[in-house]
Amino acid sequence: MKVIVDLKLCEGNMRCQESAPEVFEVGDDDKARVLIQNPSGANQERVKLAARLCPRQAITVEN
């Protein structure tokens, strides 16, 4: 699994960090950073949830 955040869309709404705190971190610049590019195990489900909840649909998950 590969996780990509479109930084042009991201507005720091925090849903990703709340859903998958090990994978996403929203910085002081209000942009999400991907901490684990290729998450495994339980993080995969959390990342899918984050992608679904992202208000601006800025997260893409590639298998």
Binding site: L9, G12, N13, M14, D30
Partner: protein
């Protein structure tokens, strides 16, 4: 929910007539029928061009996620005028709502950092102070109009302060908002028609902000008026029409929707007393309660998209150029997404409602609206000893915004806890 489906058929179903909304509120029975039988429904209605009515949650998400295939600029919403006009109406504004990518993103980033969860948290003490003041004025009274005395006051104060509008002009912002959104309602009409009312308010607002812009260009400040006034787009200053339209959007959107969510939230709590007691007993439910209030009230009824290419939704062919009207309150009652979707449940989890939209055009002010509702309801739950309806609710005559103009209540408020 019990729906009397036999009364509906695709030829007589009314989901867009403004009088229907004023008289009966949201057509939830009609939407439930459509979700079940005709989720992508070709709707022909007098005085407006036909459109596809989209009523399912998944379809609204799918359409909203493709802002290049489904654009906003051609037809922002299904507007039903009182008389058929032969001319194609040209909207007298250009702002985020009727812009498309990539332009939409260029304009949106100018203010978006002021509306992140981090940025709005700094406003919390001010929102708490405003709310406390509004409620303090009502201690000792037993009756009020919840809209005029409470729910309209707080969002107005918040957006006015964000824009740097001085206190003596707040009632003007209030009137312009009502006239822009409620121009189709006799109570707010000035001049002869909806268009005249809208245009008069728009021009007054444009003139007002033209003056403010001139001041902010000479002496920049930290308010949003100044940020927009001194912004650049594509390497140049923002054109004047787009700039004034930006203020129109911020004033109206910052006022009307939160007001209606606040009002509809109390109505829901009064009509579901067990949920009222539950929230009062357990303030830790405030965040889920706010989400449920937003889902339940869904103050924006619809926005519309236009397909740029031939495509398909749920197997239905959609031709390039056809409109798709997204009915958010319907998606937020979708039985396939929400368990017991017609139950108002202040603890509802998960709650993936789309009342703020989703994707490219996700509500810019969502985090601010959530914070305002959280502050208002936390204080109301602490201080409201009881509340009941004290007469009929008066709804706005609009099939765009689910407005409540007046909600008389009987109530008792405790003084603030010092």
């Amino acid at each position: 929910m019990q729906t009397q489906e036999h009364q509906f058929s695709p030829s007589n179903i009314n989901i867009i007539g403004p009088d229907h909304y004023a008289k009966n509120g949201y057509p939830h029975a009609e939407w439930a029928y459509l979700r079940r039988h005709k989720p992508v429904f070709w709707c022909e209605w007098p005085h407006t061009d036909p459109f596809w009515a989209i009523t399912k949650h998944a379809d609204i998400v799918q359409i909203s996620k493709q802002p290049k295939l489904f654009i906003n600029s051609k037809r922002l919403l299904v507007f039903v005028p009182d008389q058929r006009s032969d001319e194609e109406p040209v909207p007298p504004f250009r702002h985020l709502l009727n812009m498309d990518p990539p332009e939409h993103g260029d304009y949106r980033t100018i203010v978006s950092r002021r509306f992140t969860p981090r940025a709005v948290r700094e406003l919390q003490p001010e929102i708490e102070r405003v709310t406390r003041e509004v409620l303090d004025k009502l201690v000792g009274r037993t009756e009020c109009d919840f809209v005029i005395d409470i729910s309209s006051k707080i969002p107005l104060a918040v957006i006015a302060e964000l824009l740097g509008v001085p206190h003596q002009d707040w009632d003007r912002l209030f009137r312009w908002t009502n006239q822009v959104i409620g121009g189709g309602d006799p109570e707010f009409q000035e001049g002869g028609s909806q268009d005249e009312t809208f245009d008069q308010a728009r021009m007054e607002l444009f003139n007002y902000f033209t003056e403010m812009v001139n001041k902010r260009i000479k002496n920049p400040t930290n308010d949003i008026t100044s940020i927009v006034a001194n912004s650049t787009v594509n390497g140049g200053p923002m054109p004047q029409f787009e700039m004034l339209s930006y203020y129109l959007l911020l004033v109206v959107a910052g006022n009307e929707t939160t007001r209606n969510a606040t009002t509809g939230g109390l109505q829901a709590l009064i009509e579901n007393p067990e949920q009222f007691r539950r929230l009062q007993k357990d303030p830790s439910l405030i965040k889920t309660a706010v989400e449920e209030i937003v889902r339940w009230t869904s103050p924006v009824i619809q926005f519309t998209r236009t397909a740029t290419e031939d495509t398909e939704i749920r197997g239905q062919k959609i031709r390039a150029g056809e409109s798709l009207c997204l009915f958010y309150p319907s998606a937020n009652r979708d039985e396939e997404v929400f368990e017991d979707s017609f139950k108002f449940d202040v603890g509802r989890t998960p709650n993936p409602h789309v009342a703020f939209g989703i994707g490219e055009h996700f509500c810019l002010g969502a985090n601010l609206a959530r914070l305002e509702l959280e502050v208002i309801y936390r204080q109301l739950m602490e201080r409201l000893e009881y509340a009941e309806l004290n007469g009929p609710i008066e709804r706005l005559r609009s099939s765009f915004v689910g407005g409540i103009k007046h909600m008389p209540i009987k109530f008792k408020l405790k003084p603030a806890v010092q």
